[in-house]
Symmetry: C2
Subunit: 653 residues, 2 copies
């Protein structure tokens, strides 16, 4: 089996970018730094950031007219590749070019682009993305920072009214940032116009804090200590009128407010929607961190032996144990599914971005993409947290040593489940989007409005195919008419099972929300009572998206042997997913007891069948070897020790 054929499918549309980065990284010294204290780690990451700036890759996502590469997809893939290395660097780069630079590009206009994009790309102007406040992380439409327009001086006055309105956890703030995109309630002519973004200098070129600005250091964190997170407060900080990033709303010199979008809320969520690249990057790098952890654990599981097999002096390799296969292989299968979904997502986002300002962006498609990015981000980051934990445990005490990399992977990725959107909140939004057919902006609808909308308008689920529409429809049509055990491995049956579950869960959630029309209904109680149902529906939806992306990915594979292997990995993803939720399938008459038990048995069989290919499947990720070899247990140390021990034992016998 040529693992290269699998790598080709995984590398996909931006294979060139991936290969280029692998070559560059192989030459550089981007390694872990678990021996560094906070300040030295921050300094090292800043140096690495400067090297990255010199590579030019950070330009990919920016507009060509300002020296960028006009390649959103390439840019996202490039962030994703940073997920193989020190995740502090990935986050630091994401803050500088994805969030800070992205906000200037997407929320600003020519006056901002001309002045700032080049220095941002070149890291001459390190910046921050100051949205989250101590008191508002999820509900960002209700941020409390204010920017009040003063027509007398044609300036905005930025204020932090109380401690809960501090900008908090802001990357680049504690040490390096010189400017921040500050999200604040815009007040003009005595009226609040919702949240807008402003460019606010926070330090001068010598690193002195700007007047009226207070900067605190968030201090030590569980991980990502190469990123200097801080808190920002503003006391009457004045910035010129032009500091408003005015792509979606503007204030004239006399204080008159204007915007092409009438509703304050809708405008803000349109702005937020423009910024989904951050979530996509987090999902991608979580995926690559997961791959790295699984690669280390699989290498160790292939070398490590424990307990002798009866009649055989050699001890059994860990991966030969069913319990060990059960830990690592379904996680590996899901990692493949997420990779393909990520690849789809990046492609779709790239294509949408390329419609440019001229074409009217397809709003429905934009919202569907926002939803998909949220769902994939939630799944990818939870999967990272659980798989890296599993990988750590699968390596025993060795997995607990910093030198074996897993501790850093675990600690660094941990926050991914709650930053760039708390996963639970994101999944809830996915459900809302489905129930309202993306009629409104992704994060816009309140629980009450959602419930009302559903009560009035929801007529049933429409399955929107995300990938390889025709292929999927064909599979579904060709699926078996009746259920028997053999059909568990029929792709048509599998896709239908996922779709059916999603539809049923959504219809049920809608029925619950409709109770809001009852006379005595408390809208919050109605919504809250349906919350676990909504989250389940959203999960079923995301799992369907993953499956469709996986199916499309397998279909793109030209090599027959590689394709057959990927097909089996897809089967494992499907059946381990059904296994985990098989109570639902049983409760709703979708599986008989016998077939449900057959699902469990088939997962075991698939694990056994895939076990000999575990190494190929992790090697196919084509993680630059230095990132694997950084962990002695994956670099062959374990195999070497086992070989010496076996030779010694044989000599003694």
């Amino acid at each position: 089996m040529d693992q290269g054929a699998i790598t080709d499918v995984l590398d996909g549309r931006w294979a060139e970018v991936r290969r280029m980065i692998r070559d560059q990284v192989a030459a550089a010294e981007f390694l872990e730094s678990h021996e560094l204290d906070t300040e030295r780690h921050r300094a090292q990451v800043y140096e690495q950031l400067a090297e990255l700036a010199a590579s030019g890759r950070q330009r990919l996502g920016f507009a060509a007219e300002y020296g960028g590469g006009d390649d959103v997809g390439g840019s996202l893939v490039s962030f994703e590749m940073l997920g193989f290395g020190d995740l502090s660097l990935m986050v630091k780069a994401g803050v500088q070019w994805g969030l800070f630079g992205g906000a200037v590009q997407l929320l600003g206009t020519a006056r901002h682009h001309e002045r700032y994009l080049r220095p941002i790309m070149d890291l001459e102007l390190p910046g921050c993305f100051a949205m989250t406040e101590t008191g508002h992380g999820s509900d960002v439409a209700n941020l409390r920072t204010t920017a009040t327009y003063d027509p007398a001086s044609a300036e905005f006055v930025v204020d932090t009214p109380h401690e809960a309105a501090r900008k908090d956890y802001i990357g680049n703030a504690a040490r390096d940032g010189r400017m921040a995109v500050v999200f604040a309630q815009l007040v003009t002519e005595g009226e609040s116009r919702g949240v807008h973004a402003f460019l606010v200098p926070i330090r001068d070129e010598n690193g002195n804090t700007a007047p009226g600005v207070r900067i605190e250091d968030c201090g030590r964190k569980a991980g990502l200590n190469g990123v200097d997170n801080g808190r920002l407060s503003f006391a009457g900080v004045r910035v010129p009128r032009a500091a408003l990033l005015n792509a979606y709303g503007d204030v004239a010199v006399d204080g008159t407010y204007s915007s092409s979008i009438e509703s304050d809320s809708r405008r803000f969520f349109t702005m937020l929607g423009a910024l989904i690249r951050g979530r996509v990057s987090v999902a991608g790098s979580a995926g690559n961190a997961t791959k790295r952890a699984l690669a280390i654990a699989v290498r160790y599981g292939e070398a490590r032996r424990q307990f002798a097999r009866p009649g055989d002096p050699d001890e059994v390799v860990l991966l030969d144990y069913r319990a060990h296969q059960r830990k690592l292989l379904p996680a590996l299968a899901k990692t493949y599914a997420l990779h393909f979904a990520q690849e789809e997502l990046v492609g779709a986002l790239h294509d949408l971005s390329n419609q440019g300002d001229s074409a009217e962006v397809d709003e429905h498609r934009q919202r569907e993409l926002e939803s998909r990015a949220a769902g994939v981000k939630a799944f990818a980051t939870w999967h990272a947290t659980s798989s890296i934990q599993t990988a750590r445990e699968a390596c025993g005490g060795a997995g607990y040593l910093a030198e074996n990399v897993l501790p850093a992977l675990k600690a660094d990725t941990d926050v991914f489940t709650t930053f760039e959107g708390d996963n639970t909140v994101l999944l809830q939004l996915v459900a809302k989007g489905l129930l309202t057919s993306y009629k409104d902006h992704f994060e816009e609808l309140s629980p009450l409005a959602t419930a009302r909308f559903v009560a009035e308008q929801f007529v049933g689920t429409v399955m929107e195919r995300t990938a390889a529409r025709k292929l999927i429809d064909r599979l579904v049509d060709a699926g078996p008419g009746n259920d028997d055990d053999a059909t568990l491995l029929d792709r048509g049956w599998q896709v239908k099972a996922f779709c059916d579950r999603e539809e049923h869960l959504l219809d049920g959630a809608a029925a619950r929300l409709r109770r809001v029309s009852d006379d005595d209904a408390d809208p919050f109680e109605v919504f809250n009572g349906a919350q676990d149902h909504l989250l389940h529906a959203a999960s079923a939806h995301v799992e369907r998206i993953l499956l469709e992306a996986f199916v499309a990915g397998v279909d793109r594979c030209a090599d027959p042997a590689a394709k057959a292997l990927l097909d089996k990995v897809c089967d494992l993803f499907v059946l381990s997913t059904i296994e985990a939720d098989r109570a639902w399938f049983l409760e709703h008459g979708r599986l008989t007891s016998a077939r449900s038990k057959a699902v469990v048995a088939t997962v075991n069989e698939l694990c056994a069948e895939l076990r000999p290919h575990a190494s190929i499947l992790v090697d196919a990720f084509a993680i630059p070897e230095q990132f694997i070899a950084a962990a002695p247990i994956a670099a062959g140390a374990e195999r070497g020790r086992q070989d010496v021990m076996r030779a010694h034992d044989a000599a003694v016998r």
Copy 2:
């Protein structure tokens, strides 16, 4: 509701010890140290260890004739209480007095006790417990270190034959230890007699490494960096004949080996069995670390608000959301269950220890206890890992900051799932014990021997009641004859459901293992093919133990209101446990679809009913306030901010 009534039940038999420690700790400065580098952290923990030695509490577990307290239970509770603080101190104390001191006491004889116990208790002789090797962590009967008796000099020669035989991850080795209990294959008269323990000096009083000994530092770890883990290798290190801890086997001057236990393997597992206190301590401190994390998350969830309720300017408190209740309250219920099971376990171990050397220790009871300790340890530590993770996520970005303690709790407890026995291996041993009715020593039976034993002798499961036997039997007898929704909350039905599942899973596992008798059966394949089934059976067994302990605990509660509340917490434990495994109940006709859905609905209802009592339930743990207040988000900072914000908002409106 008086939370004190709940605290009284939780404090249980060693309430005095718990209260004394709370008072002492309240006065001391045992706080987190996330700003310390490795060396300073190690130094601080050593200082704290010395303070602990001065307190005299470490004497509790030792024999009175050498200055100890003859109070095994009190000693275990005292280790458990250390779980509220810096877990590095807990582990360091556990190494010094539990593992090192415990091995000298339990595996040694008078000549060792007289010479070493006092300096060990007083920390004049810091020591290590050197069992694990790089190549053997789980399969410790096959350690490769050798101790060869040389009759010419009446010495043992200790050797590390190759790198995989290094003693690895050894606490106290890298910095402080002066002596190690080294586990090695005893070779005398040219014959190996299995693993025995030897006292080997590794450093002199000035800290210089002893001749022939090589000490390496394991370096930075994911957590527990206040513990100096290291690696020990031996090259022809000579120790006197008396260095053998000879309670279970001895070598005469001429090299003749003698032991009261014939079989080498059986002898070693008897020695291991004597050392189960380590596992019990790990389970206890994992439980207390979990309580601390949940207390922090509940306090935050009670203060933190996000998203406004329709028609109400105030935002909703996080714990009012069903999804948030679902995260924290079932975890809290299971924490209660584990606490009661731990309390039972400590009591049983204490009583067994007090039978003393004179009485013939009940072997069956000893083995059942070893099994229970393994099961409770596995469950308590996995529960710690998942609950502390949940608590971290429930606190969002604030939970990621080191100052809020959760990162240290997470990182420090992580290794608990794989040290003092890998959890998966431990659960497998629990299943083996059940299938063989504890006929053989806990860790002794090989897969082949187990399968053969089962094939020949297993006749069906016998439910051994662990707690409040009569009460449980009465509940079961009084349980409803037929199933309807109302019975989900009937304790008799619940206990029966747990027992029935355990029996059925064990019978099924036995049936699988019997296939080893088939002519063409490969014993390893038979065993491996049943592995997931065995692990499920073991889990069902441990969950039944937890339930019985919970029931007995509730029964001990004298206060009616407190008892009613605990009853509800027990219901939530039971039904969330059934919910998680309800596919099994459905597949095996134990629940209809309708009843299975009712289980989910009842978990939701119980969460809502317990939500107003969440604070009381965490306050009842009586965690010394300083350990909660160490986290600003739990010390009222969040509530203060929210109050200021609401006052400000009201003024603006």
